[in-house]
Each structure stands twice: as structure tokens, then as C-alpha cells.
Amino acid sequence: MKKTFFHGIISGILAALACIIYFKIYQNTLGTGFNKIINPGSISGACIFGCMLMAIGYWLLEKFNKEKLKGVLNIIIALLSFASILSPISMSLPLDIKNPELFPGLVIPMHFFPALAFFCLVPFFKGKSMTDKVKHSE
């Protein structure tokens, strides 16, 4: 549980950092002003929440000794990340915000950062599974 918690929180923080850096670069390069819609606080919250959800999924699979399904869970996480890009594409921004066509370009890459950070850190938090422990005790 402790290992899964740290996996979720650390990957969430890393994803949030990547998103905020991308957010700053995008805003400064293209001169957009989407601060009314998203800000570092909301970005951090969303990243940590997403990574904690993934961690809970991993923890449940480990708890019920279904670790072979982690691959399936990874695919589901990737598909959900991909499906979530529909939201910024179809979103209508307040009319006083200029260049709304640049908003998806800002937000869509961010939707993949939590999954990317979580998957990157998997090897660092890979403990022995229940099956391994049983084999080891034999």
C-alpha cells in the first residue's frame, strides 16, 4: 500500500511539473492567455488525482493477486487518456478569450503526461508479487 501510494503521488507530482513547464512555454511562445481556464493549481490537482487513481488500480490488482491484468489496465489507462482529449476539443471557452483554436494544442498533450509519468516510474516501484513470494517461500 505504501509503495503504491508513493508511486501515485510521485508520478502525479512529476506529471504536474511537466504540465506546468509545458503550460509556461506554450503561453510565452504563442502569447496566449488561457489563465482563466487553467492554472498551475488546477493542473497539479488533476495530475495528482489521475495518478492516484492509476495507483489505486494497481493496488487493487496486487491485493486480489491479478497482477497479470496490469497490462490490460495499462491499455485501459492509455485509452482513457486518449478518449479524454475530446473534452478540450469540444469545449467552448468564454467569448472574451482570444484564439480558442490554440486551446486544444495546450491541453491535449497534458492529458497524456500523468499516464506517461506513472508508466515511467513502474520499474522503480515494482515489488515482489504474491506469486513470487509464494514461489520464494517454497
Binding site: 476539443i89 467552448s92 471557452l93 468564454p94 467569448l95 480558442p100 483554436e101 486551446f103 486544444p104
Partner: protein, 174 residues
């Protein structure tokens, strides 16, 4: 000497009265104007407008509006909607980049507001319309409805509302 006093007085009076007429009615469009259209769907704004405004509440006969809106400046809050609005089915920006309104007469209604009657040219269709408006604190404000099908904007029916409410607010300076 006496012979030229009256001719000079006549010319001077005419010149002064002419300048008075010119100076009293010309206005420049100031920053902060807005042209909004609202309905159940779609809603948006045009962010670029220019024009010549001559208005004097005491001389409505010589008052006139000639306003041009840049259709490319449409903003509906969504990039895909903006692109769709500019295509041939809707505003067809390549062929018709502007919407113009040229007034032919301005009158004062019984309720105290003003009414500008003139020609609205949108997507190549010219129709006479009357726009009720107020003029207070150097700002023109008005609201009126337009049926987009009258101007061949978009396909008739469908999920998009046919009648759109237009709200105009134009601050001006002399």
C-alpha cells in the same frame, strides 16, 4: 466701406454655420466595442469593426451610420466552431469577408429611443432592417433579431437556431 460689410457678414455667417454642422456629428469608434450574437446554439462575438458614424440627436436628418464588420474576427469560443462558421455553408469568408450596415434614415421613436433604418449586407444578400438603439454616455447600444436563413447563412433548420439576437455596444469619441 459700408458696401463690403454686409457681404463679409453673409460669407462669415455661412462659413461658421457650415463648420458647426460638420463638427457636431462626426464620431470615431473607440476601443471596447462589442458585437455579440446569442441563441440556444450558436453564440459568439465579432471582435473587429470599423466605420463612419455621424450622429447628432438634434439633427437626425444629417445623421448616418456606415459600419463594417470583419467576419474573420468571429469568435465562438471554440476553434472548430470558428473554422466552421467561416466556411462556404455559413459566412463564406473567402467570398464575403465583411458584413456592412449603411443607414438611410434615423428617427426618434415614441418611446424615446432612436431607430436606424438601412441596408444590412451579409453574405451578398442585402436587406432593409431597422435597428433600435440608445445613445447615452457617448455609447451606442442596441439589440435586434436576425434570421440567418434570410441571408443564406448556414443550412435552414438543423440544430442551429434560425433567429439570433444581436447585441451591439459601441463607445465613441469625437
Amino acid at each position: 466701406m459700408k458696401k463690403i460689410i454686409f457681404p463679409i457678414a453673409i460669407v462669415a455667417t455661412m462659413l461658421l454655420s457650415a463648420f458647426t454642422t460638420i463638427n457636431s456629428v462626426s464620431w470615431k469608434i473607440a476601443d471596447g466595442y462589442s458585437v455579440k450574437f446569442t441563441s440556444d446554439d450558436p453564440s459568439g462575438v465579432f471582435t473587429s469593426m470599423k466605420g463612419d458614424i455621424s450622429f447628432d440627436a438634434n439633427d437626425l436628418a444629417n445623421s448616418k451610420f456606415n459600419v463594417t464588420i470583419d467576419v474573420n474576427s468571429i469568435n465562438m469560443g471554440n476553434g472548430m466552431k470558428n473554422t466552421k462558421a467561416k466556411n462556404a455553408d455559413w459566412f463564406d469568408v473567402e467570398k464575403y469577408p465583411t458584413i456592412t450596415f449603411t443607414s438611410s434614415s434615423i428617427s426618434k421613436s415614441s418611446t424615446g429611443t432612436y431607430e436606424a433604418t438601412g441596408t444590412l449586407n451579409m453574405k451578398g444578400v442585402q436587406k432593409q432592417i431597422t435597428i433600435p438603439f440608445n445613445f447615452t454616455n457617448n455609447t451606442f447600444t442596441g439589440s435586434f433579431n436576425i434570421n440567418r436563413s434570410d441571408y443564406n447563412v448556414g443550412t435552414p433548420g438543423g440544430h442551429a437556431s434560425s433567429v439570433l439576437k444581436i447585441d451591439v455596444s459601441v463607445p465613441v469619441t469625437k
